[in-house]
């Protein structure tokens, strides 16, 4: 069954100590997971300390609603859409919102560079970000 997918990256605007940032991310994740489950949305969030990348997949209307909600969040800025459109299947079907933290990002070579480059070349970075997240999620669940 085809599913609508959007991939975006954005810059972190959470101020505070590492602990406060961690707390903010936890709160973002728990809210997202509760909402996504209800809305039949799956996805993954990547955070490398300075930027986010997120994949959202599900029914078009639900993805649009969640995306709009995320857009109004002041905890990030400079949102760049890397990919949006129909996708043949869910990539993160087991996850209402999988999460790859800065430590996990460090385990995959070049992942920092990938995220920085995403802002520069949005049109070509969508698939790379999805596959990077896929690897990170697979490594974490193995």
């Amino acid at each position: 069954m085809s599913v609508y997918q959007i991939v975006y990256c954005s810059k972190n605007r959470i101020d505070g100590s590492p602990e406060e940032v961690d707390a903010a991310i936890s709160s973002i994740l728990s809210t997202a997971r509760a909402k996504n489950q209800k809305a039949q949305i799956s996805g993954a969030l990547l955070f490398n300390g300075s930027a986010f990348a997120q994949v959202l997949e599900g029914p078009l209307a639900a993805v649009e609603d969640i995306f709009e909600h995320i857009q109004c969040d002041t905890r990030h800025s400079d949102v760049v859409v890397l990919r949006n459109g129909e996708s043949p299947a869910r990539v993160f079907s087991d996850w209402s919102m999988a999460y790859a933290d800065p430590a996990a990002v460090g385990t995959i070579p070049n992942s920092k560079i990938d995220l920085d480059e995403a802002f520069e070349n949005p049109s070509t970075s969508g698939p790379r970000i999805v596959s990077l997240l896929e690897q990170l999620v697979a490594a974490a669940s193995a």
Binding site: L60, V63, Q71, T74, V80, V81
Partner: protein, 567 residues
Amino acid sequence: MESAISNPAVSVGVPWATNQRPTEAFLICTQDAQVVYASKGLAALLHLDSDQFAHAGAVRNQQLPPLLAASAVIDPPAQAAIASRFAQARLAQADCTLDFLSATGELQPIHLQIQQVGEAHWILSFEDLGARRAAENDVAKLAFTDALTGLGNRLRFRQSLPLALGERTVDAQRLALLLIDLDRFKAVNDTLGHPVGDQLLRKVAERLHTVIRQKDMLARLGGDEFAIWLPSASEDSDALARLGARIVDLLGRPFLIEGHQVNIGASVGIAVAPPDGSDYESLMKSADLALYSAKSAGRGLFHFFDPAMEHRAQDRRRLELDLRRALALRQFELHYRPQVDVETRNLFGLEALLRWRHPERGLLEPASFLSLAEEIALVVPIGRWMLEVACRQAASWPANIKLVLAVSTPQFESGSLVDSVKQALAASGLDPSRLELEITERVLLSNEAFVVKTLYELRALGVRIGISNFGTGYASLTKLDSFPFDRIKMDTSLVEGEIVSHRAIVSAVVAFGASLGVSTLVDGIRTEEQLAKLRADGGRAVRGFLFVPTVSPVELDGLFNRAVGAG
């Protein structure tokens, strides 16, 4: 006319006058208070047992007082009042009214009208005024609401802002007004259609809603214009600046609508009462000037009102008045820029340039007034004037000197260009082959059929056509192939700096021009070094003009003499 069938009174033998139209809740009774008809609406209003009304016969021959007494809506004092008012009406043989409160929890006012029909009957019409007020409120609500976004509309904004200003003067606090204009909204409507545009406006409204407080007023003034006023705004303008920046940021973020990624932006103008205006009109005007300033500074910005904006607007208005008079007062002049062949150093053409000799400001170049002229639709008449005068002057020049004249986009698109050229040539007697009209590459991008037709008509007159600013638009080379023209003039920006890709474009265009058999020129060569470099990169075929200062008409003779002397 009431139809006999729908008129219940006819069925009970009561003559009906058209001006005696009862409300939905009414009853008809005889002189001695015997009810002959009661409507279903009456049962609903008075909370009467609807079984009583299942058939008309049920209420017949019932007396009015017990019928009223059966209603939970009419309490005993109201029953007494109705009975007494009915008795008065019968005595006086006159219509009368009575207002009383319903006995139910909500205590709605009920209006009763007693009217005589015919000789022997009376209609008692009941109306729930509470319901009518609610309906009126609904209508009022609609009139003050923007149907698309559910926000207040311009009317609501206009009505509420003066109120807020009045309250502000009482508590001596500041009130801020923000005018918000979407950038590139029209493009969304044009390319993705109005349904997507409408959804975008709804999402914009929702995003704006996230930045306001409960006591702030957000409205859609119409189209892609939104406005917010904030009562008791903070003294410190940093808070307003943060709000302005937040709005620009929020609305500049991508929207996702029906699977389309939509990117717009917003410009914001901010004015604060009392310093920037203490009534609706003056505050709106200040915010509008601030918005205009933000938009002209490049969009995606917020600007605070500044009294200097008012001066600039006044200057602009004055300039507009002057500009409207300039043609009639013969304040325009033509100056000429010599075109000198780099190979031979011979003068071969003169490009006509517009100058405005302003009585107070001196000699003005088009950059300082042309966009204004375009706004007030003066570009076409000015262009026509330039054609006439330039052709007349050129007719007296040596025959080997060409006249080059740039045609503005509005002039080209006006549809009157061919006629203007025809008239100017006929009036001046200038040999058409000595006139070269320059159009910009941008003109070629729109309405191809019209462009091709116009260009062929101009060529049929015998005039030459050049394309200027080549390399700044996006005209594809294949498209150029279908246009009749004689010369390509590359844009100045292509020869400035050391950019290698520009050199590649220059040599590609030169080669393309050669293949079409048209000459290629590069505008804006100022120094011999630039020329040498350009030739090294673009090849020997590059020709260009050396920079020669612009001359006024009186200096032309000297120029011609020198040219003859040099040649």
